[in-house]
Symmetry: C2
Subunit: 250 residues, 2 copies
């Protein structure tokens, strides 16, 4: 009854249209723009301009912004607009602490239930990271995928969504370049150790290692920030015109 073979572009469009509302599509597009850096922290989202650009009216745009507000990617100021959120170093460090705890639980759960095929997949990722150890552009996406898979395989849906949301928020960190730097070889050694604990179904050890892996990342970030601060002592941060300013965040 159902011809699944190669749906035409229009059919695909219709199928999307049937399961996704414009607001959802807009939200995803904005998410992409924010995470990719196309929209920078502090930028305002001009509703009319976005509406024109995406070929929709302002309604769906506003709905999308409300969603983004709740997932903390933007901040809405009454009568002034919605701004891409700006998170401080302290915010970033706080997020690392939370992520570390979540990653730890993921490890404990995963060690109990991991399957051979999942192990193989993770092992493959570690292997590829090892080969890409001196090419950050190849390494980075593999690293992201490795972490995402570890959380996904834990089987705890709520854990996964929470973790993903935090990871996405970290993209807002203004000096994001820092996040991906850090010694890749050391990091991958930790990846191997995690894999080993998982293979042995050692729940406690996997949890500890995964918790510490994130905390090590936090440490690396702190060291980098300190180093940079010494090299170029605190450029006077120019006040943005946006009300979204200040990193106090309530």
């Amino acid at each position: 009854m159902n011809h699944d073979s190669a749906p035409s572009a229009t059919v695909t469009a219709l199928r999307i249209r049937r399961t996704e509302t414009l607001a959802t599509l807009v939200r995803k597009e904005l998410e992409r723009m924010i995470v990719s850096g196309e929209l920078k922290a502090g930028d305002r989202l001009n509703e009319s301009a976005l509406a024109d650009r995406l070929g929709v009216s302002r309604g769906p745009i506003r709905e999308a912004c409300r969603g983004l507000e709740q997932s903390r990617l933007v901040e809405v100021v009454v009568n002034r607009g919605t701004f891409v959120r700006q998170i401080s170093l302290q915010d970033a460090l706080d997020i690392y602490d939370v992520r570390s705890a979540l990653f730890g639980v993921a490890g404990e759960a995963l060690a109990r239930r991991i399957t051979p095929s999942q192990l193989a997949l993770l092992s493959d990722l570690v292997e590829r990271m090892s080969r890409a150890a001196d090419d950050i552009d190849a390494y980075y996406p593999l690293n992201v995928e490795y972490h995402a898979k570890l959380v996904e395989f834990s089987g705890n849906v709520r854990l996964m969504t929470t973790y993903r949301s935090l990871a996405q928020e970290l993209h807002l960190f203004r000096r994001r370049g820092l996040v991906s730097e850090g010694s890749m070889a050391v990091s991958n050694r930790e990846h191997r150790a995690i894999l080993d604990a998982l293979a042995k179904h050692d729940s406690a050890r996997a949890g500890t290692l995964m918790r510490e892996h994130i905390l090590a990342g936090k440490k690396r970030l702190m060291n980098l920030v300190e180093a940079k601060a010494e090299a170029a002592p605190d450029p006077p941060r120019r006040r943005r015109r946006t009300a979204a300013g200040g990193s106090a965040s309530a």
Copy 2:
């Protein structure tokens, strides 16, 4: 210039209006209705009806729903509406695991920075809970406040918001009565132990105790569910007409 004394209702309304948009007010009202149980899991949110009832148009209602969707209190199905989410026992248990991890981090951080006045406040809450040990209606809100304060005092904003969101989601658990039951005396003994560790600034112990406190709550819930299941063996869950049904939750 500014007469602060007893602002009239209209002034208050205007002041609110200046800092809160209708969508925000609607979202808060809907949140209240959901958490209070006025809107039950599975119920549909009729946009026109709500608009009439709250005296606004459908725009702000829709925006509010998008926010609620992102915080996982409702589920939106294209062309059919938004439904109050229904979470399964498994979902609830998953949430307990995540909460436990977050609560643990909160404990570690809090033990390092807790102030005498914060200790006094927490101690007072435990004392009052102890006196209310056989009156669940008095005990329950104190218990909620105690947990909230522990997280709030941790000083990690992101941790607080994440924790709060999960706690709110737990209200959706269909057999929510169960959550508040459980041996209050035992629970308060744990509260005292936590307080003790915090007073001694014993970070590791506070973290462990707080983690285990939530896991103990999870255990209590599981035992209760099992007990009830034996008493009244699994009533055939009637399929709701709503598409939101099924607890598989992707």
